[in-house]
Symmetry: C2
Subunit: 191 residues, 2 copies
């Protein structure tokens, strides 16, 4: 998506530890009109699929998910990072490792909002190691729902998440794939 | 807002500890089309103000903020619950007490995204004790920005947040104010 690559080149800032800050439009300040274009692009890519729910994980996936859901005319469901133990059996639960924050946490989703009748599109702002996507795919499996695709705004192509998901046969589309980045340059993968 | 009150009566579930679960449409599953109506209602209420930014706090305020920002044609900025200490001086920082989770946490916002030129509408899904709103108002003060109003989807009128903000002269509008609730009933404040 050229408009996205342009904004990454103009506004992105590379930080130590393979961090790309795009917080001027994607995940701290949010350019809602631009995210609407991103949602429309995901709709073009995945519109052949019978999608009933957009699934993401708090927090930074929520805005992308809302603007995508608006294009599809379906609800969002977002998985929550568990703060407390809930043992009442009403939740799907998976485990996600965060390399950014160096910890492992539970993600949970109420069983009321995902079931065997659902056809799910996962969306998120970033794909790096793929741990968050794997957790969401695990939850979709627990629900007996169908995974129709994964839509990512920015994929770090030099980390293993994208390769791992594609090798599993996941219908993954990333709007921008970064091949490499240094302090001064961001290089995108040719498509 | 009658459509909102109807959904609270039909779908809300009261839980011990003054918890009202409306997670079927507001803050776990998200009915994006309905949140668009909520955003348009906030626009009707606050459209006389020269608003440049919609401010909220992660996570459950983000969806409401995005749909409200769409009506105003301005960006969202969301404050983050701090996970790590950042001592580089580039952040506004305030402290919020969460009664739900029984803890105190820092909220932070990059100085790049709020300044003296900004006219800010705060939105959130719930108002109870008002601690989150106070933290955001504190950050607006640090930025030298102007607080134009606070838009709340559901106010718990039996807790002190709304009274406290109105006594301070804050331009607060809540789309539904709950006067009282028990296991079986939710009673709204007459307006």
């Amino acid at each position: 998506m050229d408009a996205l690559k342009g904004r990454i080149l103009r506004e992105g800032r590379v930080r130590p530890g393979n961090i790309l800050k795009v917080d001027s439009f994607l995940n701290h300040q949010i350019d809602v009109a631009f995210l609407q274009e991103i949602g429309e692009e995901f709709h073009r890519i995945f519109s052949g699929r019978p999608i009933t729910k957009i699934l993401t994980i708090e927090s930074s996936g929520i805005a992308v998910a809302c603007m995508t859901a608006q294009s599809f005319g379906v609800p969002v469901v977002f998985a929550k990072k568990a703060q407390t133990k809930n043992l009442d059996g009403s939740l799907y639960r998976s485990i996600v490792r965060s390399y950014t924050y160096g910890k492992i946490y539970d993600v949970v989703l109420s069983r009321r909002f995902l079931g065997p009748e659902d056809h799910v599109l996962i969306v998120d702002d970033f794909l790096a190691n793929g741990c968050a996507a794997e957790g969401l795919i695990d939850i979709i499996g627990q629900a007996g729902a169908s995974l129709e695709g994964v839509g990512i705004v920015i994929e770090k192509g030099f980390q293993e998440g994208g390769k791992m998901l594609r090798e599993k046969g996941v219908n993954l589309h990333s709007l921008a794939i970064i091949e490499s980045m240094t302090d001064n340059t961001v290089v995108f993968r040719e498509e």
